[in-house]
Amino acid sequence: MLERLASWLILCMLCTAASAVTVQDDQQQLVEIARPPQRIVSLLPSLTETVCALGLCARLVGVDRYSNWPQSIQGLPRMGGGIDPNIESIVAQKPDLVLLAGSTRGIERLQALGIAVLRLEPRTHADVQRVLRTVAQALGVPGTEADRVWQGIDAGVQAAVQSLQPQARRQRVYFEVSPAPYGASESSFIGETLQRMGVANILPAAMGPFPKINPEFVVRAQPDVIMAGDSSRASMLQRPGWSQMRAVREDRICVFPPEQADIVVRAGPRMAEGARLMAQCLNRVSGGAR
């Protein structure tokens, strides 16, 4: 009798172990997920895009206010942003998993309310691949699917690299992420893409992925090409000395409009598309000048 009970127990444990997964988030915390989540809330655009790239867009029940891709999530309820997530809206959706960045406010609050939270923050190419794998694992998607998606992204980046014309290579680039100004250095995913293109970055990896820089640094470095998001359009040329920079005088500037900037600055599944936009920019400015 006792033996039968024990074997039954072991069988039970095996059953749950088969469906339960334990994944590690970016803060090295182990998160146990009992069964594949069916109601997911994402509070970071790149994570929203990652879920959709894995083909599970339909499982999203809420996103942050900055998520805007793909089209099918436009109608989903909005749960605030990274610094002001709306705890009540999130709980009201009864999510079984919330995906968010490590710096999001109120994480402890969500955990206290009994909601499984996965903190992921991709910043490099390797991060994008790892986040794809982690999200796939958490959502019960086979790892081969995650690898397939990653191979697609990687091939896309490679295609963008090869589309670069010879005269567009070996230029020195300054990439501005936001007008504070914060730039993208060699160690960010944007810098890594540029590196694969054989293009030099005026911000060395030692400065950290997205360093805050002195505008004078850019003037002194005299980049051949300037790339920036739409938010920098107004203020960039007002900075002292910038109008006299070679790149500005020769109009070797690419300011990405908002919908393109979203693609370029998000470390997610659309990274290849971002690489293509950067390659287009480099081809255009080098073709025009020489």
């Binding site: 002001d84 709980v91 923050e121």
Partner: protein, 331 residues
């Protein structure tokens, strides 16, 4: 006579607070939402009991802490412009938060004990250490002017350091912005418990020393001649002030004007001794912040306006109006 009036007003403000908590449970992410019919739904119950109720109660408690701290600060410094953040606690809390975020924001040290302290713990420790630093720079509490100047210096320097730490990483900067816009959205039952404890302790301490504050209104020399143990009393009052402020700041972030406006509002209602002012300021602060919070939730629903933004606007308008009406009387 005066004490009966105080009790009457205390009762009125307490009722406003109670009504506010009830109101607070009826407004949330969907705007106004009457809950009497919906209590069968387990999610709705969780929203009511674990989100709206602690949040509303927390707003009241936090407001009460700030109101009390404001009344203590204004009495201690004999200055109607004194506010709870005068001794540098706000900047200290900011520095604590920014250091915490930049050290542990994306870190691998999650199993160490320090990160367990959390953002609220870091803010509390930062706020208390800032006041201790101010006391050290002012060499004690004897000279009001020294204390004020040291508080300003500590506030500016620690604030600058906090910005410096945050500037290096855009993510920390973003999270810091969230902290600067104080919000009650993340208050749970634990936070409520901590704030209630801090309120009880600091109110008891300040209440016990209310006679010292009364004596101080006659000038320091007079207070001394009345045989008050001024030095000890001041130290204890600073302790009550910093404990109340640190507890509120740690749980909610920076919330402007409640601490400044609550004692003014009380004094415009009635004239009484400091025992009354302290009690009523706490109740007034609680009612003010709670009503502001309810408004902040309802105004842009389903978006959630950080209540700190709203109190800054409303408090500014109120003080301006007070200034105009009192200067009109004098002219």
């Amino acid at each position: 006579m005066s004490s009966r009036l105080v009790m009457l007003w205390a009762l009125v403000l307490l009722c406003i607070g109670g009504a506010g908590v009830l109101l607070g449970t009826a407004v949330g992410s969907q705007g106004w939402q009457v809950w009497w019919g919906a209590t069968q739904d387990p999610v709705m119950q969780q929203i009511l009991w674990d989100i709206r109720l602690p949040r509303s109660l927390g707003a009241w408690l936090g407001g009460a802490l700030l109101g009390l701290a404001g009344a203590v600060a204004q009495g201690l410094f004999r200055n109607p412009l004194a506010d709870p953040y005068l001794l540098g606690s706000a900047s200290g809390a900011s520095l604590g938060v920014s250091l915490y975020l930049s050290l542990f924001g994306g870190s691998v040290l999650a199993s160490a004990w320090l990160p367990r302290l959390g953002m609220t713990g870091a803010a509390f420790v930062g706020a208390v250490l800032a006041v201790v630093l101010t006391l050290m720079l002012a060499r004690g509490v004897q000279q009001t002017l020294r204390l004020l100047l040291a508080g300003v210096v500590v506030g500016v320097v620690l604030g600058a350091l906090a910005s410096l730490v945050a500037l290096f990483e855009p993510q920390v900067l973003q999270a810091m912005q969230g902290f600067m816009l104080g919000s009650t959205a993340f208050v749970g039952w634990t936070s409520c418990g901590l704030m209630a404890l801090a309120l009880l302790l600091s109110l008891a301490l300040a209440w016990a020393l209310a006679r010292v504050l009364d004596a101080l209104t006659l000038g320091e020399a007079t207070a001394q001649s009345l045989g008050m143990p001024l030095r000890l009393a001041r130290l204890l009052l600073v302790a009550a002030l910093s404990m109340a402020t640190a507890a509120a700041v740690a749980q909610m972030g920076l919330i402007a004007f409640v601490g400044l406006a609550a004692p003014h509002a009380v004094r415009s209602l009635l004239r009484c001794t400091h025992a009354g002012v302290l009690l009523l300021s706490a109740l007034m602060g609680g009612a003010l912040l709670l009503l502001a919070d309810v408004l902040a939730r309802a105004l842009l629903a389903p978006q959630d306006l950080p209540v700190g933004v709203l109190t800054a606007v409303l408090g500014g308008v109120y003080l301006l109006w007070r200034m105009k009406s009192t200067s009109g009387v004098r002219a």
